[in-house]
């Protein structure tokens, strides 16, 4: 059971990260067009078959792993930085600064799901950098809310009062005395954030708002493959299973982290 629960997700994640990091050094040919192998089913030459331009699906899958890891980690890193800054300032400053920032957070939360990211990515134009900007512009809000709530509950503690009495400035209070105590919930939230960013990247690429062709993304592979669903289902099945397994593994890991770090289950 524990092998199934922990070993399998951990192994899958390791595979994902390894594939993404080593993609440039592997002998991959994700963009090689081979007109003799158009829509070829999985076989000896290409274990996962070839797509509508004869490109090997396995190579594109591995190149797509790089895209999804880059976007997942990039989006979460930027979101956490912005969220910690906004939430930290709001929680520590209080007063009208807090009120204004909470209103700002409320407005961003009023946009359902990745709708704002869809609109932003659509307006900024395709490309991996715009994709990361669009997703981070939506993603920071959750971390800001989390950090603010944590700091509100922590800032009356004795050790903070002591630090204040010793003359520590707000920046020092925030970075040295408050943030270290919010790391556990932040880490759990960030883990689930990576899963959300991987789905969002694939979703936006599926809508044609993500990476530019010929760069590979699991989402755009599903989009391109959908036209050949009946003749070549492997074009859709392979990248979809990749997204599903990565997201499932990250979520399982997040659950375990939450239990381990004893973070109170969120809504």
């Amino acid at each position: 059971m524990s092998i199934l629960r922990d070993g399998l997700p951990a192994g899958l994640l390791l595979l994902w990260v390894l594939a993404a990091l080593s993609a440039p050094w592997l002998p991959l040919v994700p963009d090689r067009i081979d007109l003799t192998a158009i829509l070829a089913p999985p076989g000896a030459g290409a274990p996962l078959g070839n797509d509508d331009l004869g490109r090997p699906v396995l190579d594109r899958l591995l190149a797509g792993a790089r895209t999804s890891l880059l976007v997942g980690v990039g989006v979460v890193a930027i979101s956490v930085l912005i969220g910690v800054a906004v939430g930290g300032v709001a929680g520590l400053a209080g007063g009208w600064v807090d009120l204004a920032l909470v209103r700002l957070i409320d407005v961003f939360l009023a946009f359902p799901g990745i709708l704002l990211a869809i609109a932003l990515a659509g307006i900024l134009g395709p490309g991996i950098d715009n994709l990361i900007i669009a997703l981070a512009a939506v993603g920071w809000v959750g971390y800001a809310r989390l950090v603010r709530a944590q700091i509100l509950s922590l800032k009356r503690r004795d050790h903070v009062t002591a630090a204040l009495a010793l003359g520590a400035g707000p920046a020092r209070i925030l970075l040295r005395h408050l943030l270290p105590l919010t790391l556990a919930p932040l880490l759990v939230e960030a883990t689930f954030g990576i899963a959300a960013a991987v789905i969002a990247e694939a979703g936006l690429s599926f809508l044609g708002l993500g990476v530019q062709p010929p760069q590979a993304s699991w989402g755009s592979m599903i989009r391109d493959g959908a036209a050949y669903l009946l003749v070549a289902p492997h074009l859709v099945l392979a990248p979809g299973l990749a997204v599903l397994l990565v997201v499932l593994s990250v979520n399982l890991l997040g659950d375990r982290l939450r239990d381990r770090l004893d973070v109170r289950a969120g809504p």
């Binding site: 799901g113 709708l115 789905i199 989009r223």
Partner: protein, 317 residues
């Protein structure tokens, strides 16, 4: 949770309602502002992006004047707010028609899909969650939680094509896409509803588990009520409130998911209109779609809050 931010003290009912409406109004204004600013994020010149590089200068100036882009920002902003309040959402470039009726034609399809998906997810999640809680630790519980994990992880832009492959192409039971007849609603509703069902089942389970530990459940059992009555009558009734809140919040994911699901199934709703408009650089339509979807989300959440206060005497205070 979101609710923790909105000030909801235990004031008298009317004041609480007024405060909720007031904060919703502020959020609505903020949403309008952000949607207004969207068009100013277009890299370079939006007029050039819409007309292409070969456009004549006269055409450019005409479009610039029509969009009001030649006026100062605050004047554009006030004009935008005024027109939006009168439901004047501008004119679509692609369709050469006012946006409001164009949007109006698409609303019924999205509403139908959202209601079908929500109903389906409730029909799946409530029995599954209640039974999983009742038989905690058993095979049914494990199965329900497995479904919950999978359902939350499966992306709807993949589930949709896979369902089409199995039920439309192989079995031939349902239409591949479009909106003709009740059969065409099934696959989109399943695609959109699965994620929500997964999240809800988990919530129903933990909520019922919590309630089952209460004293009045023991009382109900002690006075000889049947298991069915205890479970569905007593436990579920009180487990509803957190589930209701979650439905309100998850509606956001549902509405955003509708954009992708409608695209997969060529479902003629607001979501597919948004994607068409993005591809055609039809910015007034993009703005209008985002505004409509977001405002309906704000509205539903404000209503959920009010219903919550009305349904739970403890919150009414």
């Amino acid at each position: 949770m979101r609710r923790a931010l909105s000030s909801r003290q235990s004031t008298s009912g009317l004041t609480a309602v007024a405060a909720r409406v007031g904060s919703a109004a502020l959020v609505v204004l903020g949403v309008c502002t952000l949607v207004f600013l969207l068009i100013h994020l277009v890299p370079g010149d939006p007029v050039e992006a819409m007309l292409g590089e070969g456009a004549r200068p006269a055409d450019r100036e005409a479009l610039r004047a029509a969009l009001g882009l030649d006026r100062p920002l605050w004047e554009q902003y006030l004009g935008y707010l005024g027109r939006t309040a009168r439901l004047d959402l501008g004119t679509s470039f692609a369709y050469q028609r006012p946006v409001a009726p164009l949007l109006g034609e698409r609303i019924p399809a999205t509403l139908e899909l959202a209601v079908a998906a929500l109903t389906l997810s409730l029909v799946i999640a409530v029995p599954l969650g209640v039974l999983a809680a009742r038989y905690r630790g058993g095979a049914l519980d494990a199965g329900a939680m497995g479904f919950s994990l999978l359902g939350a992880a499966v992306p709807n832009f993949w589930l949709g094509p896979v369902l089409i492959l199995v039920f439309s192409l192989w079995l031939g039971w349902t239409p591949v896409s479009g909106r003709e007849g009740a059969a065409s609603l099934i696959l989109p509703a399943v695609t959109l509803g699965t994620g929500l069902a997964a999240v809800l089942a988990r919530m129903v389970r933990s909520s019922v588990l919590e309630v089952l530990a209460e004293d009045y459940i023991r009382t109900a059992r002690a006075k000889g009520l049947g298991e069915l009555s205890v479970l569905w009558g007593h436990a579920l009734r009180n487990a509803w409130l957190p589930v209701l809140t979650l439905i309100g919040l998850q509606l956001g994911a549902l509405l955003a998911g509708a954009v992708i699901t409608e695209t997969v199934f060529a479902w003629p709703g607001v979501g597919s209109l948004l994607i068409e408009a993005i591809q055609a650089r039809d910015y007034p339509v993009v703005q209008a779609c985002v505004l409509l979807i977001s405002l309906s989300y704000v509205l539903v959440n404000a209503l959920t809050d009010l219903v919550y206060g009305w349904a739970d005497p403890r919150v009414r205070g």
